[in-house]
Amino acid sequence: MRGFEPRPLGTGRVLALLGAIAALLLPHATRIPLWISTATGVAFAVRALFAWRGYGMPPQWILAALAVASAGGIWFSYGALFGRDAAVALLILMLSLKLMELRSTRDALVLIVLGYFLAITDFLYSQTIATALYLVTCVWCITACLVAFQYRSQQPRAVPALRASAVMLAQAAPLMLVLFVLFPRVQGPLWGLPQATSSGVTGLSDSMSPGSLSNLSLSDGVAFRVDFAAPVPALGRLYWRGPVMWDFDGRTWRAGESPGAGISGIDTIGEPIRYTVTLEAHEMRWLFALDVPAQIVEGSRLTGDLQLIAGRPVRNRLRYDMSSHLDYRFGLAEDAVNLQRARRLPRGFNPRSVALADQWRSAGASPRAIVQQALSMFRQQPFFYTLVPPELGRDSVDEFLFDTRRGFCEHFASSFVVLMRAAGLPARVVTGYQGGVLNPLGDYLMVRQSEAHAWAEVWIENEGWIRVDPTAAVSPQRIEAGIAAAIPDGEPLPLLVRTGNPWLRQMRFGIDAMANGWNQWVLGYSPDRQMRLFQRVGFSDANWHNLVIALMVATGVVLGALSLVVMRRLRRSATDPLVGAWNALSRKLATASPKLARQAHEGPETYLMRAAAAFPQTREALQRICRLYADARYGPAPSPTSAKDLARLVRALHLEAGGH
């Protein structure tokens, strides 16, 4: 039997708490098995009904049985009770059961604290700005519940609670910043947990068939962002190299095995340009760099066809410094085996193209002339650059070159390379990204999936591998001004890529600049960055010891500043000179004997009696002071000079030692 009946919680407060916790659970709904989300939903509905109708809670033994059953269910679903997914599911189920124990204010507080913990678990899955904003809103609401449960009234109004909660969160924000910036970091992804952030990110792959790049171009996702140290070179020169395709089976190009390291074969001209790439996770191993890379990223290697390959698939956002030479000559001494591979064509495909190339070769044209002939064919005949090319049959190159003549960059690159190979010239398809969009708000280059591109490389004696972009012959705008300018109106380009609406464009830039800042400064705030930040403000060494000291000092400063503000507000009445003089008396008496400081709840008469008992000799003076104060503060007609008089009396007061 309980010693007391708990104070009723109030229906409104319980429903608000249920709502706030349900909002915190919402992002998990898709990640947990259906039976758990159903059970949780039922628990919330049942508890809400109980609160609404005022029913009593179910008995303990039912809850105990349900708890055991839940743990068993988790074990059955996940094969464990620990680990991120199982532990989160367990937390959610136990929290749902705790709802059935929600009787007293204490239970509500337990639920609220669990709610805060739940907010953290959402971050284990997603760390986007949207998640952060959503969770901040949830935390705001749940803190309002915390405030509401401190009120005596069972039906507190929502607005004051929400306002108090907002003020408290605002007060906590500087402390949060201090902890974020100064708390010693550990190397590795945020939260130190293995992340599965792939979430179906599409990007370039190691094969290319008609339609693969044009599909990619419909995606609005960002592939990577680039920060240039110097002014950004002309868009037309920005070829971000990705997978290089060597092998063709008549329809699909494949990267195949890359030739071995070949950085030695590069002759570069002039100084390299420097930039930093922040690459989004794409589950593949390519790192993107401008042709040709002048350095490699730690843990990666440069292949013989200049692909930059990371040691393991890029599963997390990766930031690397890079430099590239835009003017170069490469592959003058290419291996004969590779050249042979770059001439190979499947037999029995695309007879018309092969015949056309044969015709060029038998005319005895130089390699340069053959390249020019192919390009002028693209330029002079009615080829169209479009995102929605017609379907192609078995001899895709023939159909494209002679019948449909409508295609996207992969059609142009593929058919060009087939023509070159048929004419006996070594050639290969290079995929990657071309150009990018300069974000004026963040002063960086966004390279999106829609900038995916394919071009060709042809090997010519004494010149090495030279880049030929047949798309540029058909649609120079694509290369010089970007994809949005090159695609005819009415084609299904991602809405926001379109240049049409300046307001939308501006918003798009703003959102991306924000996302970039978030990635760089919040998610990408690594020990390395922390160290650099420290060095910038003048500390040479950001070891744990120094960080903890800095953390404590900064926390102290923030808390001190906050307390000052609050105290000043509390003491605002002390600016009244009368109250100031009155407080001076308290200070004076307190210096004589600490016990004599006036207590907050003591009125003038009470205080006078206490003080006079301690200093009987000064009773009269004290009496005068207290009377004067009481008259001035509580009397009907205070004298205008009373504050001054009081101050003078207090100054003149002599407290003889030995008074007590």
Binding site: F4, E5, P6, R7, S104, T105, Q150, Y151, R152, S153, S573, A600, H601, E602, G603, P604, E605, T606, A630, D631, R633, Y634, G635, P636
Partner: protein, 305 residues
């Protein structure tokens, strides 16, 4: 001490021994036109106090003993048919007097209680469609036994709220008890008590007490006290606006008794336990505090502005 009221205090203090503070609170309560509830064990001098007070103030006095079979008519009066005139004649009940002592009010049924309580609130009673004014001044001094005793109907909160103050007398100290035992019969003393005031003068004093100045700083204090009861989790129900007004009037009367022209925070603190004690409810879960301890905590937790 106020010149006019000091003899009253002395006179009553000569009969109810060792209860200076309770007597003073009682006078302050009447001065503030409030009704008084005295809660204590039988035999500690509740009736004597009420009777002596009425006598000393020069007011009419009637006592109603509340029992479980008391009917509203026993309190308010009844209309009786008179054959000679062929009409109903109203025979006023004991409530038609200036000081009513409602003894053991929680022994009566709620129906009888509410008959009295309506009279308290309105200063009038309505019987058979005729509204009759009660004399002025009009006070009810109700006594009740601690409610855990058997055969009681505890007054509900709404009716408790009509009493300005609730006080407890408690046992007298040893010296006072000795004087009581050695002295003569209390009833005789009351019989021979000379009135120190009369009704007219007392009404004037009531009006004067209303004019005691209340500074804005003191209103701040009053509001802070009320707000604290509404926001602190220690209290189940906060003080109502009526309780705030009661507190203010009681503090005025207290200051007036002290012959002061303005209310000090101390006045408010002095009357606060009696005024709010029966209006506050302690949050269960916190330890069981007496209403005095709760009032003391309220005073200690709210700074004086």
């Amino acid at each position: 001490m106020n010149r006019d009221l000091s003899p009253v205090l002395d006179a009553v203090g000569g009969i109810v021994l060792g209860k200076q503070r309770a007597i003073r609170l009682t006078i302050a309560c009447l001065l503030a036109r409030g009704h008084l509830l005295i809660e204590d064990l039988p035999g500690v001098g509740k009736t004597t106090l009420a009777h002596a007070l009425a006598r000393a103030l020069g007011l009419d006095f009637q006592r109603i003993q509340f029992t479980s079979d008391l009917l509203p008519a026993d309190v308010l009066g009844v209309s009786v048919f008179e054959r000679e005139t062929g009409t109903f004649k109203f025979h006023p009940g004991p409530v038609f007097t200036q000081v009513v002592l409602a003894d053991e009010v929680n022994r009566a049924t709620p129906k009888a209680q509410s008959a009295l309580l309506e009279a308290m609130e309105e200063h009038q009673v309505t019987i058979d469609g005729v509204t009759r004014r009660l004399p002025e001044p009009f006070f009810v001094i109700a006594t009740q036994n601690p409610s855990h005793q058997t055969g009681t109907f505890p007054l509900p909160e709404s009716q408790l709220d009509r009493f300005l103050m609730r006080i407890e007398l408690g046992y007298p100290d040893a010296a006072a008890e000795r004087a009581l035992l050695a002295g003569s019969e209390r009833r005789d003393l009351i019989e021979h008590l000379a009135p120190a005031l009369d009704a007219t003068r007392f009404t004037q004093l009531q009006q004067a007490a209303r004019k005691v100045h209340v500074a804005p700083a003191l209103l701040d204090y009053l509001q802070a006290l009320i707000a604290h009861t509404r926001h602190s989790p220690d209290f189940v129900i906060g003080l109502s606006p009526r309780a705030g007004l009661s507190l203010l009037n009681a503090a005025r009367a207290w200051a007036f008794l002290d012959d002061r022209g303005a209310v000090l925070p101390e006045d408010m603190q002095a009357v606060l336990p009696s005024v709010v004690g029966h209006r506050l409810h302690i949050a269960s879960g916190t330890s069981r505090l007496s209403s005095d301890a709760l009032a003391a905590r309220l005073i200690a937790e709210v700074p004086v502005p």
